[in-house]
Symmetry: C2
């Protein structure tokens, strides 16, 4: 049926090509019935299996395997590796040990966020930067070349597979042995499986706990997935993916959605990851020291938006109070557990106090909203 | 119906968010019934309206408006602008005039392709680099910072709208006046429309001829589209987009599909755009001089693949001869006008001669293929 009823049209499908790279696990997630993808670091990232809400309830109760291969690694190796990685971030890396993961806001010379990866220190002269959605590789290569640093920068054949949910420890112990339970948060170790060396970290983009298993050989992807999936049958494992509802409830930020190059880490509530004065060499150091003296002009916050369930935004929704623009909502979704719309947004100076009541301009009409902490859970 | 018949499942849809940015023309292309999108430079790029073949026939006969906002601009300004742009490319820019567009392969220190943009020289100290799908901004910023160059690098609010097809001149003349017909290939000029300054270039990602109109204020996007679309009624204008069939027929390469960081410009058949010896300062100069002395180890080519219509690949298809791997097909589609499958791929040394017969491993069985020139038309 053709007609003017544009709402009844099918939503546009995703055209795929080599440029929207498949992963070592794509065959498996497609066999499990992935219903929606996004493109992240030029790679397929599943976003829905059964439904956003069914996936959410399952994630909070059981355990899921997530194909997060799109968290590509920027590998930095060589005598200048530490100096180069410290150039990138206002987080002080001087106390970082081999085997640690650090959440590392990455900034440009103006203090604007370029990415918010987890950095793994594999050796004194070797790091993996597990990136969000921007070609950070090019920034790091550009700096290394421009400054003639003695460091090799590349994207190795490394693809993370996340095991997330309250039963993640049980599943991992079944495959890797009981000792894996002793791995501390944001620590990693190497493990062997069928002759392959995997890096296993206690980390992941949910608040339900879990691990990320860094596959180092794409051709072993199917076998790794199958091994975990089979062992997971005892724990009701399913294929899953980062879940929009769960991550907003938990206050987990999404680069490109909740923050961009326009924002400093301080505006993103990431001040606790900045020891700018001690981050000697960080390219954004001067700009961030100035910005932190002046204080942030806007701040990221949670919001509870009143009324019935909203469809998630595909572009920012303006926040008003009276007739004044005071910010924007960047992520929002209905939370079944909180029985309200939970959201993340940025509010201008003077409007970000907890409990402030503002108005959000949604495509479904204006809605009252209350400012809250980022983490709803 | 649930079941094991995975072929009958709906193809995964594209999940959208702020991170997959809408464009100044998204409302208009959606009103025109866009059926598929891809994500390109973190932005929506339409790929199908009526159907791949219907869009193709129309493009080759009439005129279309294309939302190619995803060709983001890396703007380089300042006293060191020319030096910085020359750092990026083995093309000799010393003779480039204001008002010219240059197709500029961009390479890293190993000579590997980072992007293949069109560069516009707006002034002696100001360039736009109209990029393919990689965050070239970060590479340029990294180099500028690392080398402490006196140049500002940013992504301005500029969104190209392409007018493509044999009747493009007629449509453009109806809106901008007859004088626009005199604009030469790969030249641009500023034009005024309703008080807005637009940059109009004779360029575009088709072999049918046409223009790219660089919008410099997103809020004017709807009005610009409407003006062109209305004037186009006399010329059977439709909403369109870069067409997979037409671009393979014409031998137009797609960065990320037909070439990656693994390839030199020479392997991509782009040697004519490299004057490496004269490109003093180019960061890949030493590597490319060495590579060109050794000669390329693989070469991009067209291929005609025998048999019935193929579904385009979502990952490279191996090319064999006897039992030897000799290359891969990266783009392929059925051409209604040539009545065969046309393809682009890379062949190893010894196998790229025109007329060579090879075998392509497709998901639909092995097919015989004949090596040809890149441009089929």
């Amino acid at each position: 049926m053709q007609g003017r009823e544009t709402q009844t049209r099918m939503p546009p499908v995703l055209s795929r090509s080599r440029r929207t790279r498949r992963t070592p696990f794509s065959d498996r997630v497609e066999a499990q019935g992935v219903k929606a993808y996004t493109v992240y670091n030029h790679m397929l990232l599943p976003t829905v299996f059964e439904s956003l809400e069914a996936d959410y309830h399952h994630l909070k109760r059981q355990v899921q395997l997530w194909d997060v291969s799109c968290e590509r690694q920027v590998q930095v190796r060589g005598p200048d590796a530490q100096r180069l990685v410290q150039l990138l971030t206002p987080r002080n890396l001087s106390g970082m040990s081999v085997g640690q993961c650090f959440y590392t806001p990455m900034v440009d010379e103006t203090g604007g966020m370029l990415n918010d990866p987890v950095t793994l220190k594999l050796a004194e002269d070797r790091y993996w930067i597990s990136i969000a959605d921007s070609d950070l590789l090019l920034w790091v290569k550009g700096l290394a070349n421009g400054m003639r640093l003695d460091a090799a920068v590349d994207e190795p054949d490394v693809s993370p597979l996340a095991v997330q949910g309250p039963r993640a420890d049980d599943l991992m112990a079944a495959v890797f042995g009981e000792d894996i339970r002793s791995l501390r948060f944001f620590r990693f170790r190497e493990v062997k499986l069928d002759g392959q060396t995997l890096v296993v970290a206690r980390s992941g983009y949910s608040k339900q706990g879990g691990f990320e298993v860094y596959l180092q050989d794409s051709s072993f992807g199917g076998a790794l997935w199958d091994k975990l999936f089979e062992a997971g049958q005892a724990f009701q494992v399913r294929a899953g993916c980062p879940n929009l509802i769960e991550r907003i409830e938990g206050g987990l930020l999404s680069y490109g959605n909740d923050m961009t190059r326009e924002n400093t880490p301080h505006e993103c509530g990431l001040g606790r990851f900045c020891q700018t004065a001690d981050a000697i060499g960080c390219i954004g150091r001067d700009a961030l020291i100035r910005a932190s003296m002046e204080g942030p002009q806007r701040m990221i916050r949670g919001l509870r938006i009143a009324g019935e369930a909203l469809t998630p935004p595909t572009q920012p929704w303006a926040i008003h109070t009276d007739d004044q623009w005071v910010g924007q909502v960047t992520s929002a979704v209905w939370s079944p557990d909180f029985r309200c719309n939970v959201a993340i947004g940025m509010l201008e100076l003077g409007w970000w106090d907890e409990g402030s009541v503002v108005e959000v301009e949604t495509p479904f009409g204006n809605r009252q909203a209350t400012v809250s902490q980022l983490n709803f859970s």
